[in-house]
């Protein structure tokens, strides 16, 4: 019985495709902020719809497809068994990709549930729930049939991703359908806001952080050919992370009409969160520090090293922005957008790129088509993300101080329009940063396609080890 790797290839291919299309949509909306008329008066190209398309494609197309690919790849190898219910796994693949395609079209057509990062309307919410639970059945079914006693740490993170995202998605999407393309949330007013950000921030927590930590914990030791620096620390950090993250959502609602104590609780839990986040960063950096020799020959490792630096930045900046006296300046400004992208581009995208540069040659049974191209991609990505983040820091801090500035009479000093117009040069810089990042992703797509075109796939069987004690 061989490992089921064709499904991994399929998810990886789609993830790369969605990365390019999703980032293209992002660059286009960035350009719209500089040249507002390039929507040509078409509703489908308007900022509101394209921005939703961008987040949907990069989060659920690129991010989740990459997570499912790597979860399916690693769970088989850490359990020493073939994937449970491969037929169901293929159902997950088709259901997920179809949801992204049709969901993307629906967003451009103007369907929108009005919840950030959960904009898809109720028919898609149902499809996502079914596909996601099926993903869980395949994953946990494989774990249940494992032939080694310990459940490796990456599987704990992937497992938490599956369970918590199912819970968040189902609760936050509860709604009363009115027509096929319109529904009304079951929650109202402040409750709706609290549920939305309980969902929103834990999607960041368990998907963009937890899920990708699963990826890190499997692929980093593999690439570095080193065991995790401290396995014990990874377990402690896991439980601290799971316990703490779930409370942090209300920091998105500072100074809003929710109870003061809920805001303060969200802030305190966000600050505590720094400890498990950095424990993981230290664990990663120390693991890779023992693998210096490989750095020259392996472009993939560079991406992972850099992704850890941005992970450190994003997980420090997040708690800092959650402090109310900082948040009063940063809320609603471009600083928040910069923060999200230092995490999404610097951490999520870079670690996924690094993982794909490792994974695709193995799936194809051949060498990477061009290590030089991967190196160029590395510098394009670094320059892109730095330009993006620095532009948004400049824009955000300027916006914060301008919005709050008073004149001698105690009136607001600058009009919203004036402040908006002052942001234009930063938006141009951000557009250039995004374009560089997109160019890198296109280069990667080409490199991986050429790698796969020269494939000499060898199917691999799980090692013939006796089942561990207590396991069938």
């Amino acid at each position: 019985m061989k490992y089921e790797d064709r499904i991994v290839t399929a998810f990886t291919g789609c993830s790369v495709l969605w990365a390019v299309l999703g980032m293209l949509a992002g660059v286009y909306v960035a350009a719209e902020l500089v040249w507002p008329t390039i929507d040509f008066g078409l509703p489908g190209l308007s900022f509101g719809r394209l921005r939703t398309l961008h987040t949907t494609l990069v989060l659920f197309g690129f991010g989740v497809s990459g997570l499912i690919a790597t979860a399916f790849y690693s769970v088989q190898r850490t359990s020493h068994v073939r994937l449970f219910a491969p037929g169901l796994a293929w159902f997950v693949f088709y259901a997920w990709q179809l949801t992204i395609v049709l969901g993307g079209v629906s967003v451009m057509a103007g369907w929108n549930a009005g919840k950030e990062y959960a904009e898809l309307e109720w028919p898609f919410d149902l499809a996502i729930a079914v596909a996601w639970v099926s993903f869980g059945v395949v994953f946990f079914g494989t774990i249940a049939r494992r032939r080694m006693e310990a459940i490796y740490i990456s599987n704990w993170f992937y497992g938490a991703l599956i369970i918590v995202v199912a819970m968040l998605h189902i609760v936050n999407s509860l709604a009363v359908p009115a027509t096929i393309g319109k529904s009304y949330s079951l929650f109202a007013g402040s409750q709706d806001a609290i549920v939305q950000w309980w969902y929103g921030h834990n999607a960041v927590g368990f998907l963009l952080t937890g899920g990708f930590l699963g990826m890190l914990y499997y692929f980093l030791p593999k690439q570095a050919e080193q065991p995790i620096w401290s396995y014990r620390l990874s377990i402690v950090a896991f439980w601290a992370f799971v316990y703490t993250y779930i409370w942090a959502g209300p920091h998105h609602l500072h100074y809003h009409s929710i109870p003061e104590w809920v805001q303060s609780l969200g802030m305190v839990m966000s600050l505590i969160l720094l400890a498990p986040s950095w424990a993981t960063m230290v664990n990663g950096i120390m693991t890779v520090s023992a693998a210096a020799k490989k750095l020259r020959s392996d472009p993939a490792l560079k991406f992972i090293v850099l992704s850890l630096a941005f992970y450190g930045l994003a997980t420090f900046e997040g708690p800092m922005l959650a402090i109310k006296s900082v948040n009063v300046f940063s809320h609603f400004t471009e600083w928040t957008i910069g923060h999200v992208h230092s995490g999404a581009l610097g951490w999520n995208a870079l670690i996924t790129f690094g993982t794909f540069y490792f994974l695709v040659p193995r799936l194809a049974g051949t060498q990477l088509y061009s290590a030089r191209m991967a190196n160029i991609h590395f510098w394009l990505a670094l320059a892109g993300v730095l330009l993006y983040v620095l532009a948004m820091w400049g824009a955000g801090v300027s916006q914060g101080v301008l919005w709050l500035s008073l004149d001698e009479l105690g009136e607001v000093r600058f009009s919203f329009n004036d402040v908006m117009a002052a942001m234009k040069p930063y938006y141009l810089l951000r557009f250039i940063g995004g374009l560089l990042f997109l160019a890198g992703a296109v280069l990667m797509a080409f490199n991986l396609m050429r790698t796969f075109a020269g494939r000499r796939t060898v199917e691999i069987a799980p090692p013939a080890v006796p089942a561990a004690r207590g396991l069938k």
Partner: protein
């Protein structure tokens, strides 16, 4: 050639960094000399430029300039200087702490010298603070920052006597710290504005 690490060698540090790296690889400088002879002086430049620029032109954030009273600008410049010194000292100490992991030289003098070289282009680039237009400052300081990072990656393996691969890893780990230090500076700044040290704001 032994390096005379003083403010008078600023031009050598800026234009012939490789020669300085090579010299540092064989000669261990004293931390006190690097700090009092060089770092302290280049550290004065950004707050000084910022003070002169703000008093003359006000903060230009894309709309009409925001002028601040002199005592406020003085206090902000002093806080800026303190933050830069703290940033410099903590980066050098952290580099020394990381050196254990990356099998690099744990000489405090070398770590001080490395951080001073990395900071030098930024300190000189801060001449743009003389005209405190936020976007123009971003535009000038971004390439300067890239040059500084290049110096860090290039100089670290030589000055701290570790291999190029370990040097690359250690430089990346240091970048993580420097990014965090940069964003902390932003956070502390806006928190200080909120507590009254800064422009007239209300919330």
């Amino acid at each position: 050639m032994p390096v005379k690490f003083s403010i008078f060698s600023l031009a050598t540090v800026l234009f012939r960094p490789k020669a300085v790296f090579d010299a540092l690889a064989v000669n261990e400088p004293s931390a006190a000399k690097v700090f009092f002879g060089f770092a302290l002086w280049i550290g004065v430049l950004p707050p000084l430029f910022a003070y002169i620029g703000t008093m003359n032109f006000g903060w230009r954030l894309g709309v009409e300039p925001v002028f601040l009273p002199q005592h406020m600008v003085l206090a902000i410049s002093a806080a800026y200087f303190a933050a830069l010194l703290l940033g410099f000292l903590s980066s050098a100490v952290i580099a020394r702490w990381m050196a254990i992991t990356y099998d690099a030289s744990q000489s405090l003098g070398r770590c001080f010298a490395l951080m001073a070289i990395v900071g030098a282009p930024l300190a000189v680039g801060s001449v743009i603070h003389l005209y405190p237009h936020a976007f123009i400052n971003v535009l000038v300081l971004v390439p300067t920052l890239i040059w500084s990072m290049y110096l860090l990656y290039r100089g670290l393996p030589v000055v701290l006597q570790t291999g190029p691969n370990r040097g690359m890893l250690m430089a990346s780990a240091l970048i993580a710290y420097l990014l965090v230090a940069a964003v902390s500076l932003l956070g502390v700044t806006v928190a200080l504005w909120g507590s009254g040290l800064g422009p007239l704001i209300g919330y």
